[in-house]
Symmetry: D2
Subunit: 445 residues, 4 copies
């Protein structure tokens, strides 16, 4: 199936984007998806080597993709000059295709958390920081990690983080522990972008106490304690690390933007990143649906004399999955478009909706795909269980769904005074009409 | 709240449409919503008068609306010349506003089934038919009914209908019974558009056996047997009738388009009508959400020391309702836009999705709004239970959800061969890569 | 189908109860269900007569039922001497059968709110009150209403009620308004059991400020303002009234149990009543499932060449409905059994579960049954929409589901300290085992 | 919390069972749960050793448990003489407690698939088979596997299996491949119970073509191809194997019960096994709920100034989880009780309900528990994700939910003729009553 752009955004997608999408789709379907299992097989299963080797096929994919101009597609033209010049909406559509394959995003230098980290450096980094870290990241030479979450705090609220930063002369001294530092286990990870609580402003504005610091991997005092698993997957070689900082010292110049400006930085980082995650998830759902359809039409798997696809329940799963996916896509594209027209802050509500709805919906689609595969669905023979596990974490990452729902509920509830006033006016007009038409306003009920 | 157009369709809405939407919104909020209860109170509760009187306030509303140019907004500019010149997408946004009030659609001559009937006459009627029926309908002088559904057949599949039509000389003779003939009880209903099974082609193409015939109300042999209720509502003065035809004779010239072309006609009729129903339902959901928010912020209804809106469960209902409504809107607008770019047939999938998703989602939102009102929610003091009942029927009208899901599932499943072929190619490429990288393709699993 | 008692309660049902159940089932299936439509038809549709006549068929049914000993079955043997001597569990099974028909409960003098009111009088009334009100109620000569809910208060919390009661000499003076006073519109309703806020203890214990007063219908100052509708149903002749009290005076001897003891009374009233409502709802669900099965096997309603029952989606609806119903039954019977073994207070949790789960589950079953009937399902031709509406109110009556969920959540959360202590002990033992088996407790993760 | 037996089964649980349950609970809470992580840590992570070592702590647990008489509790007294003498209902309650810990079932020699295999041998094995395999299994000296599922067949319908068995003289020759052979990777697994398709009866009764054969592990021609993973978990040392049979020869005396009697054997095997799985799942859900409650009351995890447990959404999760668990328990116990009163065949419907409802419900509870733990929930720090993955497979094992739903739907739909007849009788009686009361049966609608 050639990739289909929804009617409603036809006018918003340039010809160049359409051409690029076709190239991406071809590359993903013919190179990346077939490469996924090779990539997996090239990761050592020996505990001592597991986090030290890197699958050679990835470098080959990267070379091929870059040669076709499929590189750094994510930096939106509205807000950055270093990228490929697409809008968030256009890149959203591309990200969906990337989401079909485990290796696709990285092959085009579009994988998290590097994308968000490059955005941070491009937007907030000074020239030296850009030269040292942004350039090799854009070049795909190194990788990076973003260290925010903490094990013993409700760190989805950044005000709760405990990683301590103090200033000693020209140095910053960091102490604390982070976890779920995705990518920090990767042998090529060269820099950590660390969210700290600094001593500045502790008695005043709680939104000005966070600072973002660049810590080179291998800095003395940093210990990668262990990789965390997602359901049973360790996601090697990328991984999700628990990392300890004991009196880790870096120069003050490693501060991004300035002390106390951490909140500002992560707010700017989150919007497009959420769009990317959502659209990749949708791509995963499309792939799950493809697998489901292929499976239920397997002529060797007839039950009760029929192809599985002839059973009404399965038919309705297929239809519901199609609806779920197409709904999600519109929701995300609308958010991306609002970022393009304004910025991420203006699109807060739309981004939050996508963040809440897409992962849970895609998990449902994948769960149905798993179920349609029977025992095959939960094991390594299909990418379904793994995709499920990965996308399940998106209901937690950057704050659990419930926090976003509560916030959105509070904002929407902010309309109360206005609504009540409107109702009162309508009530007054209603009373007027009852009088005009000579009806007893009470008795008619 | 000023009506907000989603980012993604900003470019698709003309300034004239925006201006009209503002006028519609003002009229609905200040005239129609306050009028809803008066309209209700003006309907007699005496059984002998209930279906004979008509609420005078409606004619006043119609005059006011027409004076502001708010009239016949529904006929899309792409496909009709008689209308107000808006696209399906633009009118969709307007229909949402109309959906907030029971009296709004009719006040602007935009209410079902007249809208669909006018589309049929405009598209398929001959000049005489247009003069006799379309003109007074467009003028709001008469109303009409569409008679399709039958009590003792699975009539969501039009091939199953039994209303018999035979030709005798220059006359058509109709025999049979229809039910759920919405509007046929209305004292101003002047014409029935009746779907019949003619004797033509009975042995051949099952899609060429249906004919559409215009039957003036009051034609001898027509008996309105009884009004049907929806949950407990009879929806007077409009109503839903069971109507018997006993040797009803009309001239052959009352055939629309020609014998055996009924399928063609209803196919063309359904698309935009479903968009209208969906968008009006979304307007009802918005009103339900308004009521919910107003209620849970009522300072006299504290429980356990808090405003009801401060309870987390209610907060999440408000957020989920906002998400549900905004998702539905995008789904419908995307379908409307596809109709505008192509036609209803091209947008079959998108229309079906909207038809399936919107009513069930809006019912959920309204059910939550009811629940938030406690006992008030189910009774006549709020329009919530009534809106619920009305929209509940949309899950059945024009075929139950399950029929549409089955059809959509079958269509989507049609991709099977293509997917399987793609998977085979990927499998071949995978095998090639395993060889190239010297990995045993079996052992790695 | 002969009524089937779940395996798990086989030993808990006496032979006498089994015999009675058989008689009830026969009476309900052959007398009550056929009578339901006659009962409905005998209620006048003229507004002026609607609340003044009473369907003659009911008295005939009552005579027949009583002649067979099917009378006052609800008063449980454990707690009352006046009843038929069954346990709550046994009567629960009987109530399920009653729930299949609109007329069944009343025909055996087992209908709400009389049942709860008789329990109150039997348990808390003095001899004079019993003679005046309990005897004719037990005799089926009069009916009664329970006036608790108020329109402008969150009255699911009885502490919020506003109906004011003051003492003047030997008289009580009542002022205020109640609504949803079910049965108060009935021409045979002779007494209101009114929950008031008395002036006693207003500064101290908020649970000792409520009093229950007996007010004879027709007492000067009482005005039945209007009947409330449930969805569109007015439930005549029973009805749900809004009732105003203006300086209504009754003798002090009309107080039940004593001033300030209202809370105590309603607490005792609610348990078994909730069991009855739940079990009747289950009976309604069984009837809904019967209708669904009959409909989808109608040979005249084939779609796509198959009986509707041959479609997989419908098959799964039937199965899910069976599961839902059987699950609900076990939940309610377990609660009933706990009341029998102890009392309603001990069974608080079990009753609350049933109260929360059963109505929502039965609404789901009935909604599916409606959907399976297409347009027939929402109208007067089947009892489905009406049963849905009635049971929908049970999610609100006696407090909305959400209040019960919050309370149950709080109680269950009360286990926190105990669980945390258990986890700490297990953690200590785990550390011990790690030492014993010489494993580094940290590194293994 | 002392283990609480539902009211409804109080009379069905002997004092001896209660005493045993107390001992089991104490052993599980103080020995098994703390041992779970040690057991895990004792499994080698080196690929070459992973399936060859066995955690020493298990043997210690087994010794301790057996010393307390906690051994072979599963063989029900009604149907077997070798067991501990409890009913299925009593053992069900015990199995729930076992389900709280990964190591508990095996420590008391009550773990699948050995339990089902021992039932097969006890019920259908001849004396020699019992001596060779049942005795050491009952003694906990060896383990066993049950080989049924096949990769390339819809093997949930046993008629579809392809493993070929032919007779050559006194030998049986097996060819084919099985997968999801749980336990076949275990170094102590000594015997495979293999479901084959024999050449007998191939042209006649399709239910008489299956045979069950005992194949000692290590028989020439048997190759364990690979372990399958469940989500990311390999469940070592137990594991789920793909196993190839190439001309595997065993004596004819290794046939169980006789050629062509395989269907009969698995039918008898499944009932109690499903009860065990369900009850263990319920125990897992209880443990998940415990974790959830502990987590949301952690004073270090306040959000928005409140304990997480003070948020309404979480409160409702806790309540809904309690309801879900208690409902499931009643459903399973009712099925167990019916097996006790009759046999597994008589309890087909009740067992199927439990099989369908419990795994999906427990997955929901565990998913909420995971969500309440944030990122901690999906990783190795809590047993939640692992329990989720394990129980997720129960929606597939022994046939996917949808197959059971379809079957149950078909059975329930079998009541159609009876219902239709009942409705016709009621319709006749209704017509009679309309005449008797002189009402026009049509006009009243």
């Amino acid at each position: 199936m050639p990739f289909e752009i929804p009617a409603i955004v036809q006018d918003r997608v340039s010809n160049r984007a359409r051409e690029t999408m076709k190239k991406i789709e071809h590359f993903v379907e013919t190179e990346c998806i077939p490469a996924d299992e090779i990539y997996e097989a090239q990761i050592s299963k020996e505990p001592s080597l597991r986090w030290k080797t890197y699958p050679p096929i990835m470098d080959d994919l990267k070379k091929k993709a870059r040669a076709q101009g499929l590189w750094n597609l994510f930096l939106s033209k509205t807000h950055y000059s270093q990228g490929a010049g697409f809008t968030n909406l256009e890149y959203g559509l591309m990200a969906e295709i990337l989401g079909r394959s485990h290796t696709a995003s990285e092959s085009m230098n579009c994988s998290a958390p590097d994308t968000g980290n490059m955005e941070v450096l491009a937007k907030y980094g000074d020239d030296a920081q850009k030269k040292q870290w942004l350039e090799p990241l854009l070049d795909g030479k190194i990788r990076s990690a973003f260290l925010m979450t903490e094990r013993f705090a409700a760190s989805s609220d950044a005000k709760n983080i405990n990683m301590h930063m103090r200033t000693e002369g020209n140095e910053l001294v960091l102490n604390g522990t982070k976890w779920w530092s995705s990518g920090a286990c990767d042998p090529r990870c060269a820099v950590y972008i660390v969210m700290c609580k600094s001593e500045l402003n502790t008695s005043s504005d709680p939104f000005k106490q966070q600072s973002v610091v660049l810590v080179p991997a291998g800095t003395p005092g940093v210990t990668v304690l262990r990789p965390l698993s997602v359901f049973g997957y360790d996601d090697a070689p990328h991984g999700h690390a628990e990392v300890r900082f004991e009196n880790v010292r870096v120069p003050r110049s490693n501060l991004v933007l300035g002390e106390g400006r951490g909140f500002e930085i992560i707010q700017g980082r989150l919007g497009p990143g959420r769009i990317h995650h959502c659209m990749r998830s949708i791509g995963a759902a499309e792939r799950g649906l493809d697998y489901m359809i292929a499976r239920v039409n397997d002529p060797n798997r007839r039950t009760f004399g029929k192809l599985i696809s002839e059973h009404g329940t399965i038919r309705s799963w297929i239809a519901e999955s199609r609806i779920a996916i197409d709904s999600c896509r519109l929701l995300v594209l609308n958010a991306a478009d609002k970022i393009d027209r304004h910025d991420a802050k203006a699109a807060l509500k739309e981004i939050a909706m996508a963040k809440i709805v897409v992962p849970r919906t895609v998990c449902d689609v994948l769960d149905k795909a798993i179920q349609a595969h029977g025992a095959g669905g939960v094991c390594q023979d299909f990418p379904l269980a793994r995709m499920y596990a990965g996308i399940r974490t998106l209901r937690i990452a950057d704050g659990p769904d419930e926090v976003h729902l509560a916030q959105m509920g509070r904002n929407e509830n902010g309309r109360a005074a206005e609504i009540i006033k409107k109702h009162e006016k309508q009530e007054a007009r209603r009373a007027e009409l009852f009088r005009q038409y000579k009806i007893d306003g009470k008795s008619h009920l």
